[in-house]
């Protein structure tokens, strides 16, 4: 059961940071995950009065406030045009509209949850996090960092030309994913993300450069590269078992989803 001793709707990030230095304090996101656990919170820090709940489109980047709801992201026309609908695809299976009206992008990213569709999707883009103390850090680095008492202010998506596809496998609609997969071309740079392994989403490093020069390949070459890379991903991405699926099943899914995502991205199959 969640117990909260005091609640503060802060007037600035500096105030939130100061309050959050106490170990028993907690910054509130959408609260969905938080309220599921047993926790005694001395001070619940609410950022909802700071106007950090919008998607701002600038010339070269999107600045997404940490309190932006997943539903607002899902419905953001510009972001969806930029990602060819992948943002919406990554979010629309997360429980229901009411749930996504509660959950925030900041809570989803800062929590670095293993099951997170949001994290998998944002890792597939040129994404940075803006932390109050540490400043801007690439999301791919942030996911590997130990959790600290800093405050995530916003998530920044650079407008580097992007082609991306998002896929997930669920045992049943609205459940946590068994596996997520996002494939993208950030400029010419291929990137593949596997999440819900069930560990935290990770970038699949293409150490054999199997997808190098993907955009320049013929359709036949692309198909061959995709086949080899999906086998490589299955062999190299660490996966595990939980109540939603076994390690073996996830390994098979890694290959299938990686192949499908890159086939769609390469125009080999829809």
């Amino acid at each position: 059961m969640l117990k909260i001793k005091s609640y503060v709707k802060v007037n600035s990030i500096a105030e939130a940071y100061e309050l959050n230095q106490k170990k028993s304090a907690c910054v509130l996101g959408g609260m969905i995950w938080l309220k599921m656990g047993n926790r005694n919170v001395s001070t619940a820090i609410d950022l909802s009065g700071l106007g950090l709940d919008t998607v701002q489109e600038l010339e070269d980047e999107y600045v997404i406030g940490c309190m932006t709801t997943l539903r607002d992201l899902e419905m953001d026309k510009s972001l969806n045009t930029f990602t060819q609908g992948a943002i919406r695809e990554s979010l629309r299976h997360i429980v229901g509209v009411q749930f996504r009206n509660c959950t925030t992008v900041g809570g989803s990213i800062f929590g670095r949850y293993g099951f997170s569709d949001v994290l998998s999707m944002f890792l597939a883009m040129d994404t940075w996090v803006d932390l109050y103390q540490a400043g801007r850090i690439p999301l791919a680095e942030f996911v590997k960092m130990k959790k600290d008492r800093d405050i995530l202010q916003s998530v920044i998506v650079k407008k580097t030309p992007l082609k991306t596809v998002y896929l997930s496998q669920r045992n049943t609609e609205t459940d946590f994913p068994v596996l997520t997969c996002a494939a993208s071309l950030i400029g010419e740079q291929p990137r593949t993300i596997i999440g819900a392994r069930p560990g935290c989403a990770m970038v699949v490093e293409d150490r054999e450069d199997l997808l190098y020069g993907f955009t320049e390949m013929s359709k036949k070459e692309k198909a061959e590269a995709v086949r080899k890379f999906s086998e490589y991903a299955a062999a190299n991405v660490p996966v595990g078992s939980n109540m939603r699926g076994s390690k073996e099943y996830r390994r098979l899914l890694t290959e299938v989803l990686t192949r499908r995502a890159w086939e769609a991205l390469g125009g080999i199959k829809e």
């Binding site: 969640l2 117990k3 909260i4 001793k5 005091s6 609640y7 709707k9 509130l28 959408g30 609260m31 969905i32 309220k35 599921m36 919170v41 619940a44 609410d46 909802s48 539903r71 629309r92 429980v95 229901g96 509209v97 009411q98 749930f99 009206n101 509660c102 609609e173 609205t174």
Partner: protein, 159 residues
């Protein structure tokens, strides 16, 4: 702590504990249409509208309602009755436990989506679980209800 907000069109001031969830608080104020079905934020039984948007009151602190407009089914009796007849006509209502949350989300959908398809409806209502039915009757009733509202709106515009 002090809480001032609008509940079903009435502005009110209350005292609330920091960890009271909106669901418990609203039930304490007599809004018994809101129910706790799952406690895992999955069933949608506790759906209320906050500034017009459907949210899960089981997962929202009451204090987050500060300055907001909260609407529960108690505040939409006429509309609920109107839609309820469509549910009944299609035999979509069995135990009825999920109905209040379900109906509130339909009203939210009506405001948000223009002319939704059956697929849009199913996607929008994915967060409302019914353990009696297979959603077929409900979907049928929603389609008929929306058609009725569309015709009514057109007729009123033509007058």
């Amino acid at each position: 702590m002090n809480l001032s907000f609008w509940l079903n069109g009435v502005y009110r001031h209350d005292e609330v504990e920091p960890d009271t969830m909106l669901l418990d608080f609203l039930r304490d104020k007599g809004c018994y249409s809101i129910k706790c079905g799952c406690e895992t934020s999955n069933c949608g039984l506790c759906t209320v509208l906050m500034d017009g948007k459907p949210i899960l009151s089981c997962s929202t602190l009451a204090l987050r309602a500060e300055g907001k407009k909260i609407v529960t089914m108690e505040g939409m009796q006429k509309e609920a009755e109107e839609f309820g007849t469509f549910l009944a006509d299609e035999g979509a209502e069995q135990c009825g436990f999920c109905n209040p949350g379900f109906i509130m989300n339909i009203f939210a959908m009506e405001n948000e989506l223009e002319d939704p398809t059956e697929e849009d409806i199913k996607e929008y209502l994915a967060g409302n679980l019914c353990r009696c039915s297979g959603f077929v009757g409900q979907t049928r009733s929603i389609l008929k209800y929306l058609q009725y509202k569309k015709t009514k709106k057109r007729e009123e515009a033509e007058k």
